[in-house]
């Protein structure tokens, strides 16, 4: 319950933070909201030399309108995202997924970018961010301006992202999906669990027909997945259960989900098909 000793620094500026990260390399752990990091430290599954707390950096807290996209800074909490009219209007899918993250107390502290950097395949925001074609801003000391990493390239493996030692994920920029319908279908046994699987769907419908669809899968592999085959198959289909069923049932095909206490891989693949249909239908207003 008591973490091992570490040093703590709370830089006031991004530059200071990047300097610290470059100095400490892999001995440093970044703390944004701390909601995933602190349990690990308390269980003593890690003992970093220094914890760099970026929550005090004002410039990272903002959620801003970039015209075509919304930029969410690394310091923005889940609650900030939920409270943001911008997110509600233009990123309905992210909004819905965030309501499903853990519980209110954790949403008050935890951050969207922190979760992305943590890259737990069972986390709820990876799938939506991937489906919405987001771009990650990664910064490091001595490099001018952020490195832009497409979400598709961001998630490398289990708990592993394109963010290297000494680097910091400073923001995620997500193209506006104004007017898209969206739904996040999370499957759990008890409500405070990590997703057994989750399906994030955003749909642009025209006159009852699906014009465009985006589908992200949670916990169907070691990283969030994009169900591109399903997305393509959905285009032009009527937004009815019968019309969608076949296209969606394929969502789990070719995936390599984990087998654990909550479900074997074949069951997860089956669920992916069912939940994709439900998510797409709900997103399409069906």
């Amino acid at each position: 319950m008591i973490p091992a000793q570490f040093d703590y620094v709370a830089p006031a500026t991004l530059e200071e933070a990047l300097t610290l990260l470059s100095e400490h390399g892999d001995e440093a752990k970044v703390l944004a909201g701390g909601q995933s990091l602190l349990p690990v430290l308390r269980m003593r599954l890690n003992a970093p030399g220094v914890v760099v707390d970026i929550s005090g950096i004002q410039e990272l807290k903002e959620i801003t309108d970039q015209g075509e996209s919304i930029r969410i800074g690394a310091g923005a909490t889940y609650q900030d995202v939920l409270d943001s009219p911008l997110v509600r209007e233009h990123l309905g899918l992210l909004h819905k997924a965030v309501t499903e993250v853990a519980d209110p107390q954790i949403r008050h502290r935890g951050t969207v970018c922190g979760a992305l950097a943590h890259s737990d395949p069972a986390g709820d925001v990876g799938g939506p961010v991937l489906a919405l074609d987001a771009t990650m801003e990664v910064q490091s000391r001595g490099v001018v301006g952020p490195r832009q990493v497409a979400a598709a390239d961001f998630f490398v493996d289990l708990f592993e992202t394109a963010v290297g030692d000494g680097e910091l994920l400073t923001a995620v920029t997500i193209p506006k999906h104004t007017g898209w319908g969206s739904h996040y279908e999370k499957f759990v046994r008890v409500s405070h669990q990590w997703a057994i699987i989750g399906v994030a769907a955003a749909v642009r419908a025209e006159g009852g027909t699906i014009a465009e669809a985006k589908v992200g899968l949670t916990n169907m592999g070691s990283v969030p997945l994009r169900a591109t085959a399903v997305e393509q198959a959905l285009v032009g289909l009527a937004a009815t259960e019968e019309a969608l069923a076949e296209a969606c049932s394929l969502a789990g095909e070719g995936t390599d989900p984990p087998s654990d206490l909550n479900g074997q891989a074949d069951y997860r693949r089956h669920l992916a098909g069912v939940l994709t249909r439900r998510a797409v239908l709900a997103a399409a207003g069906g």
Binding site: M1, I2, A4, Q5, M43, R44, F187, R189, V190, S191, H192, Q193, W194, L261, N262, G263, Q264, Y267, H270, L271, V274, L275
Partner: protein, 824 residues
């Protein structure tokens, strides 16, 4: 609708929904949980636990830990082997029972993952935890015994020195006991035979307050604060285990954050903290983390149950045979060995079985030891018989309630002596069931179920029934003696009349959330005619409440409450001569009511004398009758004459999503008969909490080990307790047939909800999916298990005619040709 309501006087406290006295300090954060206690110079203990399920300790190097900042001492098994004794098992169920010694700190071998191998003592909890990581232990790994059935077959040994994994075989046979017929005969002659095997998964009590112990060795006595349900038993057992005079130990259970049987134990950590405090001469504290708690606090259930039910084709049951294999885990704790035996008398439940046989094989494995968990033995029994009654109804193609009704004891048949030899004093199963059906809307739900079935709805509806009774109020001492239990079943109480008119009640029944202070105050207020507010209830400290047998087994009210009544009656009896003296009347002419003695026939207007006035008079002692001692205080120790037998009917509606296997509770109605009720608010609260624990066994909880004996549900991330968002509001009601075995007419309620709800939920889910060929789903009924059962059921061929007539090893749930033929 309760009998209490009809009969109690307008001012009576018993039967009122009094708000609890306990709550004020708990809702304002002025709690006194053990971990809140801080004493001058207090040291902190951290346990080093072994990662292996089974290993020999080949070396311990504690030098780095010793040198770690703030460390005062490191104790290993070698350091304490001559003082620590062996942790107690108070219930050797058979004279031949085998058990290994049970050291607090392992000395040369560890037998389950989580066992303590060393204790680190430091000036702060953080320093102790830091140093605990530095204790370097070398092990030689041994093959762990993980699987219960393999353990029972002695394929590998959990304790090589014991020579077998089989601890004890306990048998009850109605023919041998003379309480019924020969079950083998009934099976032979059966027109319908239902054979099933069920798994009672392993559960973790998961009380919300992690366990904590503080031992203060300063002064002439050792004072131990512990998050325990059993301060009195703990004190005696510590004394016996450590060879310390009992009189030198004071145990205090301050605020205790839940127990559910999980704190009915004498723990290694209590012994270790005591030894450490004695060695260092300083107050010492140990508080567990949640992971430690899940790993090393005792677990519950964990049985295989084989049942054979014989019946006639008209649905009348003729015999029941029960064969249990019960997992003890690695050691026998305080009552480990007796827990499954508590179910022995309950499998026949509310039904009139003419013949009955119960066998239980207790078996050791290299897992955390099991012991009491809410219901202890009786949920297992109720689950199995209520599942079997549903199976019988299915075989016969009849309504499950109808088949139950055909076989249960009718209300006019009480008192009823069962095939297990118990005498049920009272009950009315018809009334509770009728009320439950009415509240549930049974017929409408059945109609909806039919509609959904017909339309092939993706979400199917199932209705589950569970009727139950249980034996609670542990227990008449002679019964416990006949079962070789190590203690009696009495309870103690004292009533002290203070000169100011206030009353102190001391109870040996130590509460941890049950509301004793409120309920006992209500009882005493009525008995003595004093205001509810003027009664102070003291408990949980062996120096104040010097005698008692604590709280478990739904015993507090029916045994402890009765002791309070007896003590209060003695107070009145003691006051009577003084009242006569003051009123200048004959003792025989006095009447006592509403707190006052009056003289019979002296007219309406007389003032009489109040009991509290007499208390002041006794304090002054200026003018007492000759020879009267100046005290009205009284003690009583009450030994129950029988168990109490609450019962009830629970109905549950579950919606099952046949695509995903996810089930959702639609409605739950329970009508319990717990006799007369002292405080309906508290009773309802006990039922709600009990229900969710039982429902959680059906749907959510399971302690899972991997093949190495590592607990993989070692935190609340994986041991999935339900939340408010997973549960619903329940409909509860009561019928009342007062118990005839105590003055209150009360029956226990603490475990009722847990006992009844598990089978109701499982029967409901099965009822929804039987149409697909599903006959059983293991608990917890996870979405995946439900989904797979549907897949397999849909794909499976009909049972071949040549099915085995009896159990084949390793083949659960076989039916006989006869039962196949018996299907409507």
């Amino acid at each position: 609708m309760t009998a209490v309501d009809e009969t109690r006087a307008p001012s009576a406290e018993v039967g009122r929904d009094r708000r609890r006295k306990e709550d004020q300090h708990l809702i304002t954060g002025r709690s006194r949980f053990t971990d809140n206690i801080v004493l001058p110079g207090m040291l902190h203990v951290a346990m080093v636990r072994r990662p292996y399920a089974h290993a020999r300790i080949t070396g311990i190097d504690a030098s780095a830990a010793q040198e770690s900042p703030g460390v005062v001492a490191v104790l290993t098994g070698d350091d304490v082997k001559d003082q620590q004794g062996s942790l107690p098992n108070a219930w050797p169920v058979t004279p031949e029972q085998k058990a290994p010694p049970h050291p607090a700190i392992a000395v040369d071998r560890v037998a389950f993952s989580g066992e303590v191998v060393a204790a680190v003592v430091a000036r702060t909890a953080a320093a102790a935890r830091d140093a605990a990581e530095l204790v370097d232990v070398d092990y030689e790994e041994l093959d762990p015994v993980v699987d219960l059935k393999a353990a029972a077959a002695d394929e590998k040994l959990a304790h090589p020195d014991l020579g077998t994994n089989r601890s004890a075989l306990w048998v009850f046979d109605s023919a041998e006991a003379g309480t019924g017929g020969d079950v083998e005969e009934a099976i032979r002659d059966a027109e319908v035979l239902v054979e099933r095997e069920f798994r009672q998964q392993r559960l973790i009590p998961a009380f919300m307050e992690p366990r904590s112990v503080v031992v203060d060795p300063t002064g002439e006595q050792f004072t131990m604060w512990s998050a325990t349900q059993v301060p009195h038993i703990l004190r005696l057992m510590l004394a016996l285990t450590l060879a310390v005079p009992e009189s030198k130990i004071r145990v205090i259970a301050p605020d205790v954050g839940g127990g559910f049987g999980g704190k009915l134990q004498v723990t290694p950590e209590e012994v270790i903290t005591f030894l450490v405090a004695r060695r260092t001469g300083k107050p010492c504290k140990w508080t567990e983390t949640r992971s430690e708690s899940l790993l090393s606090g005792h677990h519950g259930r964990d049985q295989w149950q084989k049942l054979t039910l014989a019946a006639r084709r008209d649905g009348t049951v003729t015999g029941l045979k029960v064969e249990l294999t019960a997992n003890m885990g690695a050691y026998l704790g305080l009552v480990t060995s007796g827990i499954p035996i508590l179910g022995a008398f309950m499998f026949n439940a509310i039904y009139k079985f003419p013949s009955y046989r119960f066998e239980c094989q207790n078996v050791f494995t290299n897992l955390t030891w099991t012991d009491a968990y809410r219901g202890a033995g009786r949920p297992e029994a109720t689950f199995a018989i209520e599942r079997m009654m549903d199976e019988l109804a299915t075989e016969l193609g009849r309504d499950p309630i109808e088949v139950r009704e055909q076989n249960w004891i009718k209300h006019e048949e009480f008192p009823f002596t069962t095939v297990a030899g118990l005498e049920y004093d009272s009950g009315n199963y018809e009334a509770a069931t009728a009320r439950a059906k009415e509240l549930f809307g049974y017929d409408e739900l059945r109609a909806e179920q039919a509609r959904r079935r017909e339309s092939g709805d993706r979400v199917q509806l199932g209705i589950g029934v569970s009727t139950f009774t249980e034996m609670c109020g542990l227990a008449p001492s002679r019964v416990l003696g006949s079962l070789s239990y190590g203690a009696g079943g009495w309870e103690h109480a004292s009533v002290r009349m203070l000169p100011s008119g206030k009353v102190e009640v001391i109870t040996g029944s130590s509460a941890h959330g049950q509301g004793h202070e409120t309920a006992w105050s209500q009882i005493v207020a009525d008995q003595l005619g004093v205001p509810f507010e003027d009664v102070e209830v003291l408990h949980g400290d062996t120096q104040i409440s010097h005698k008692g047998l604590d709280t478990y087994g739904s015993r507090s009210l029916v045994v402890g409450g009765q002791a309070v009544i007896k003590a209060a009656q003695k107070v009145i009896d003691k006051a009577r001569p003084l009242a006569a003296h003051v009123l200048e009347a004959n003792v025989d002419d006095l009447e006592f009511a509403e707190g006052r003695f009056t003289v019979r026939g002296a007219g309406e207007g007389q003032e009489g004398i109040g009991l509290t006035d007499l208390a002041l008079a006794v304090f002054a002692a200026h003018d007492l009758p000759d020879g009267m001692e100046p005290s009205l205080d009284a003690d009583a120790t009450y030994d129950p004459v029988n168990f109490s037998y609450p019962h009830g009917t629970h109905l549950c509606a579950m919606e099952v999503d046949t695509e995903t296997g996810q089930s959702r509770m639609r409605a739950y109605v329970c009508v319990d008969d717990v006799g007369n009720v002292v405080n309906p608010l508290i009773v309802d609260g006990q039922v709600h909490g009990g229900l969710v624990q039982g429902i959680a066994q059906a749907l959510w909880e399971e302690a899972v080990y991997d093949d190495q004996g590592t607990l993989v549900t070692g935190s609340f991330v994986d041991y999935t307790l339900p939340t408010s968002a997973d549960t619903i509001s329940y409909v509860t009601d009561r019928t009342v047939t007062p118990s005839t075995t105590n003055d209150l007419g009360a029956k226990g309620v603490g475990e009722a909800g847990t006992i009844a709800s598990t089978p109701a939920v499982v029967n409901a889910v099965l009822d929804a999916v039987r149409q697909f060929g599903v006959t059983d789903i293991r608990m917890p009924m996870t979405p995946e298990r439900v989904w797979r059962a549907i897949q397999e059921g849909r794909g499976s061929a009909p049972t071949p005619e040549a099915a085995q007539p009896h159990f084949e090893a390793g083949e659960p749930n076989q039916d006989t040709p006869e039962t196949e033929g018996g299907q409507a």
